[in-house]
Symmetry: C2
Subunit: 177 residues, 2 copies
DNA sequence: ATTTGCATGTAATCTGTTACATGATTCA
DNA sequence: TGAATCATGTAACAGATTACATGCAAAT
């Protein structure tokens, strides 16, 4: 389905970047719903260059080192926009090890069941706090035409996801016995 | 991480099954948080047999066809229990194409933005109804020592996930403009 | 002097999907 | 007679992670 292709094109559509910059974007802005290591990004950029979806200019970075500054081409923009407008196919299951373990929790001795669920509550609470902290950087809701609008929506979605997880886990704990 | 191994062991720990039965379980009971096709299940069963985690007896099925009825071994049970008790490593991002598209939604013309989000609301509403229907099969909360307890918890979790998604999408729509 | 960050790549491996392949039985 | 279900497998490919590999600059 080439999703990585479109994630990269979408980012390069916002601004010119190096492979390294893209990697940083996956670690920060996209981390709540997509990920990619540099070992996947660099080969994909090579492929996209061959396809004519991106191009680069060799530049010297601040320090004087070599770097490749990538930008999106017309073909790249066309491909990206048609992907964005296309219907999203029914998502395959989001695989979730925690839920798998909870599914099998009746195999565990009673004390451990509660312990397992509480450990998860702790994790998600920490994550929620971190996300709420990020949200404070927005003094108001960004305009829906700006690039930050997407950031705002997915951050809101991530917060709601964590809140839901905590609520579910606590409800589950209350059902033990 | 061999998660498929433990999913299969967990199911075989509940009862003896054929590869085909396991496939059906992935399609029904586990479908909200794990998936596996038969082309992955059969080779994994072969590997688990070699490892000594499972064993099988060749049997004739109802109709007279050959089938392999798998059961878990002591080693398999030990492996499964130690996996279940171990700490779950920090989950890698659950990849989500819908969220990725929403992240880039400011690239779309205004009318299409709303359309995209509403299409998602429709999808998740249908899914929610289906799950709520399944929940009605439980006349009460199963005992936390029974196998159905896990079913009940993950179904509840899936319902809450869909409710959260709908709420998030509607909130997002209200923020357009 | 050593670690961290910038910067780029390849190789080996693992995980998962789609397609190929077969064959009997049951139901419409 | 043809489609659906039961039943089992392999091969090719796609997607993603871990490890291998290099090198300069800046900060500690």
């Amino acid at each position: 389905m080439r999703t990585l292709k479109y994630a990269i094109l979408g980012l390069l559509n916002q601004k010119k970047m190096t492979g390294y910059d893209l990697m940083k974007q996956f670690e920060s802005a996209l981390c709540e719903f997509w990920s990619a290591k540099h070992s996947q990004i660099y080969p994909e950029l090579k492929k996209l260059t061959e396809e004519g979806c991106v191009a680069y200019r060799q530049e010297a970075s601040d320090n004087g080192l070599e770097k490749k500054l990538y930008h999106i081409t017309e073909k790249g923009r066309t491909d990206f926009m048609s992907w964005l407008s296309s219907e999203t196919p029914a998502q395959p299951t989001p695989k979730d090890i925690s839920r798998l373990k909870i599914f099998f929790c009746s195999c565990l001795p009673k004390e451990e069941r509660k312990f397992m669920l509480e450990e998860q509550v702790y994790r998600h609470t920490a994550r929620l706090k971190h996300l709420q902290n990020n949200q404070q950087k927005f003094s108001q809701v960004p305009d829906s035409d700006s690039n930050e609008f997407g950031d705002y929506l997915v951050l809101m979605g991530a917060i709601m996801r964590e809140e839901m997880m905590i609520e579910w886990l606590k409800k589950s704990i209350s059902l033990l016995n």
